[in-house]
C-alpha cells in the first residue's frame, strides 16, 4: 500500500494521472501548444466564430511553431511522432474544432497525399511553403452527391494530349476559399486519381458556404472545376484508386480522435468551474446529486477517451495500428465528446448558450465532427464488419 491519498488530492483535470504516461518531450510539445492556444487562439476564437471567419494569417504562426504537417518527415516538416501529433490536436481542439480542422486538413489531407504519393518535384514545390503556412492547402473528395460513398464521385479527369482536363464539383471543403493549392480526387480511365491543382488555375473557383451553425471559425467551401487544364505532371503518381483518399482520411481521423478529447476537456472544465461557483438554493450547484452525476460522467468520458487516444497513438508509433482501430477511436471519442458538450451545456443553463463560455461553440462544432471524416454510422459498420467478418455495406 502506498501513501494515503485523500479525495481532495486528485487532480480533477487529470483524474487518472494520464500526464505521467507522457515523456518529457511529449509534455513539452503538449505544453507548448497549450500555451499557444491560450495566448493566440482563446482570446479571439469566440469572435472568429461569431463573425464566421478564420484569420488566414494564423497559418504562418502555426507554421512557424511547426504545427503544419508536423508528423511528416523532411521538406520543412517537424517529424514528430504520431502520439505527439495527436497531443497537439487535443490542445488545438481544446481551443476550437475549426482551428484543429485547419491543421488536420493542411497536414493530413493536403500535405500528406503530396508527401506520400507525390513526385519529388511536387513535394519540393509544395511541402516547404505549406509547412511554413505560406501556402494553404485543401482536399477535394466529397461532392454534393458523394459523401460516405466517395466511389460514386462524378468529378472526372480526361486526357487531352499530354494534359489533363478536370470537371466536377466538390463540396464541404475546409479551407477551400483560402487555399493556394487543392488536392482534388477525380475519376479517370484508370480509376480514381489525385491531382495537385493550384487554385489560380483557370476554371477553378471556390465559393464559401454560408449560413453554417457549426465550425464557424473555419472556412468551408464548394469547389467548382470547369475545364480545368492541368499539365500531365499534376497527377499524384504514387496511387490509383480509393485507397489514396481513404489513407488521407485515416490520417486525419487519427488526429480527430485525439482532438475531440480536447473539446470535451474544455467543456468539462467549464462545467466544473461553473458548477462550483453557481449558487442556487444557497449552495453551489456542484453540491446537488444530479449535477455531480453529470460532472462525474463527463470526467470519466474525458479520461477514458484520452486513454483510448493515447493507446492508439502508441500503437501508431509502434506500427501496429489498424484502420479499424482508428475507427474505434473516431466512433467512440467523438460521440463521447458530443455528449460531454451537451451535458456541460445543461449545467451552464442559459449561460451555456452564449459565446462567453466555450461550451455551445464546442457543442455545435462537435455536431460536424460527429459526421465528418466518416459518419458515426459508417464507423459502426466498419467495426461491425471487423468483428463479424460480414460487410453490411451491401
Amino acid at each position: 500500500m502506498g501513501a494515503t491519498i485523500r479525495p481532495g488530492d486528485h487532480d480533477p483535470l487529470d483524474f487518472l494521472g494520464i500526464d505521467a504516461l507522457l515523456d518529457d518531450e511529449e509534455r513539452l510539445l503538449r505544453d507548448t501548444v497549450r500555451r499557444f492556444v491560450a495566448e493566440r487562439i482563446l482570446p479571439d476564437v469566440a469572435t472568429w466564430f461569431e463573425r464566421g471567419t478564420f484569420p488566414k494569417e494564423m497559418a504562418k504562426e502555426m507554421g512557424a511553431l511547426g504545427l503544419l504537417g508536423m508528423h511528416l518527415e523532411g521538406y520543412g516538416c517537424a517529424g514528430t511522432t504520431a502520439t505527439q501529433y495527436g497531443l497537439a490536436c487535443t490542445e488545438l481542439e481544446y481551443g476550437d474544432s475549426g482551428v484543429r480542422s485547419f491543421v488536420s486538413v493542411q497536414g493530413s489531407l493536403a500535405m500528406f497525399p503530396i508527401w506520400a504519393f507525390g513526385s519529388e518535384e511536387q513535394k519540393r514545390q509544395w511541402l516547404p511553403p505549406m509547412a511554413a503556412g505560406e501556402a494553404i492547402g485543401c482536399f477535394g473528395l466529397t461532392e454534393p452527391d458523394a459523401g460516405s460513398d466517395p466511389g460514386s464521385m462524378r468529378t472526372h479527369a480526361r486526357r487531352d494530349g499530354p494534359d489533363w482536363i478536370l470537371n466536377g464539383t466538390k463540396m464541404w471543403i475546409t479551407n477551400g476559399s483560402i487555399a493556394d493549392v487543392a488536392v482534388v480526387w477525380a475519376q479517370t480511365d484508370e480509376g480514381i486519381r489525385g491531382f495537385v491543382v493550384p487554385t489560380d488555375t483557370p476554371g477553378f473557383t471556390a465559393n464559401e458556404v454560408g449560413g453554417k451553425m457549426s465550425l464557424r471559425a473555419s472556412i468551408t467551401s464548394e469547389l467548382v472545376l470547369t475545364d480545368v487544364r492541368l499539365p500531365g505532371d499534376a497527377v499524384l503518381p504514387g496511387v490509383v484508386g480509393l485507397k489514396g483518399p481513404l489513407s488521407c482520411l485515416n490520417e486525419a481521423r487519427f488526429g480527430i480522435l485525439f482532438g475531440a478529447m480536447g473539446a470535451a476537456r474544455a467543456c468539462y472544465e467549464a462545467a466544473l468551474g461553473y458548477a462550483r461557483e453557481r449558487i442556487q438554493f444557497s449552495k453551489p450547484i456542484a453540491s446537488f446529486q444530479l449535477t455531480q452525476r453529470k460532472l462525474v460522467e463527463m470526467m470519466v468520458a474525458v479520461n477514458r477517451g484520452m486513454l483510448v487516444a493515447l493507446h492508439l497513438g502508441r500503437r501508431r508509433d509502434a506500427g501496429t495500428l489498424t484502420a479499424e482501430q482508428v475507427s474505434f477511436g473516431k466512433f467512440d471519442n467523438v460521440r463521447q465528446a458530443l455528449e460531454v458538450a451537451r451535458t456541460a451545456r445543461s449545467i451552464l443553463g442559459a449561460n451555456g448558450i452564449t459565446l462567453e463560455y466555450p461550451v455551445i461553440r464546442h457543442m455545435t462544432n462537435l455536431e460536424s465532427v460527429y459526421t465528418y471524416e466518416g459518419t458515426n454510422e459508417i464507423h459502426t459498420l466498419v467495426l461491425g464488419e471487423a468483428i463479424t467478418g460480414i460487410s453490411a455495406f451491401g
Binding site: 518529457d24 513539452l28 500555451r35 514528430t80
Partner: protein, 258 residues
C-alpha cells in the same frame, strides 16, 4: 558573442509546493519546469546571439531529476546546457548558489551573463548581483531593453518613472524583467532537436568545491521561520446609485492613495 543564460528549474507554480518543516527549504519534485522569468532571459540571449552569430549556453543548479525545464530552453534555441547537480548542494543559499554558478560560467567562458531579476520560487533576487561580484564584472539590473555590441552593454533600466539608460563594458551580468520581450515558443523542430543538444552535468567537486563549501554547510543563511500570508479579507462592495464615485473617492483618500 558567448552568452551565458541562468535558467532555473522550479516546481510547477500551478501546483502548490511544500516547504520541508525542518529547514523551510522548497521540497523539489522530480518534475520541475523552467521558471517563467527565465524564458525572457533565454529570449534576450537568443536575440543577441542571432545578431552576433554567437552562442547561448544555459547554466542551472538543479537537483537530479527530469531536465524538462532545461529541455524547454534548449527547444527555444539555446545551444547547450551546463547543469550542476549534486546532493551536496542541497540547502545552498543565494550566496552559495551564486558562487557555484560563477565557477561554472567562468569555466565555460562568457562575454555576457543574463539572468531573470528573481526566481519565482525563492524570490531572493540577489543571486545575479552576487554572481557578478564573484566574476568581478559589472552588474546592470532590471533591464527592459538590452543592446550588446562593440564590447559595450547598454540597457534601459526600469525605474518607477520610466527608465535610465545605463552602460557597462563587457563582460558583464544583466538581469532582465519579465515582459521585456515576447519569449518565442519552442518550435516542434526545436523540441525534436533538444534531446540531441549537449547537457553537461557537473558535480560540486568538478568545480573545485568541497562538501563544506556548498549546501547547508557552506551557507550563512538560515531560514528561521515561515509565516503564511494572511487570508485576504472580503472586499467592500459599493452599490452605484449614481453617486458611488464620491464614496470611492472617500475610500481612496482614506487609504492615502490620492
Amino acid at each position: 558573442m558567448k552568452i551565458a543564460v541562468c535558467a532555473k528549474q522550479i516546481p510547477d507554480p500551478a501546483t502548490p509546493y511544500d516547504l520541508d518543516p525542518d529547514h523551510h527549504w522548497v521540497v523539489r519534485p522530480d518534475d520541475q519546469v523552467l521558471d517563467d522569468t527565465d524564458r525572457y532571459g533565454v529570449e534576450i540571449g537568443l536575440q543577441l546571439a542571432e545578431a552576433s552569430e554567437g552562442t547561448v549556453t544555459l547554466f542551472s543548479m538543479s537537483p537530479a531529476g527530469t531536465l524538462q525545464g532545461i529541455r524547454q530552453a534548449l527547444a527555444m534555441g539555446a545551444d547547450k546546457a551546463v547543469v550542476i547537480s549534486d546532493p551536496a548542494l542541497k540547502g545552498s543559499d543565494a550566496a552559495v548558489t551564486a558562487k557555484v554558478l560563477a565557477a561554472a560560467i567562468e569555466r565555460e567562458g562568457y562575454d555576457l551573463v543574463i539572468a531573470g531579476t528573481e526566481s519565482t520560487d525563492g524570490y531572493t533576487g540577489v543571486v545575479p548581483q552576487m554572481l557578478a561580484e564573484h566574476l568581478g564584472v559589472p552588474s546592470l539590473t532590471f533591464a527592459k531593453h538590452v543592446e550588446a555590441a562593440d564590447g559595450t552593454l547598454r540597457i534601459h533600466r526600469q525605474t518607477p518613472e520610466g527608465y535610465d539608460v545605463v552602460e557597462a563594458a563587457l563582460p558583464a551580468v544583466v538581469t532582465v524583467t519579465a515582459g521585456v520581450v515576447e519569449p518565442r515558443y519552442p518550435t516542434f523542430k526545436g523540441i525534436m532537436q533538444a534531446k540531441q543538444k549537449p547537457v553537461e552535468e557537473l558535480s560540486a567537486a568538478d568545480l573545485g568545491f568541497g562538501a563544506d563549501d556548498v549546501g547547508a554547510a557552506g551557507s550563512g543563511t538560515v531560514v528561521e521561520g515561515v509565516t503564511p500570508v494572511p487570508a485576504r479579507q472580503a472586499g467592500e462592495i459599493v452599490e452605484d446609485d449614481g453617486e458611488a464615485y464620491l464614496k470611492i473617492l472617500e475610500i481612496l483618500e482614506r487609504a492615502k492613495v490620492i
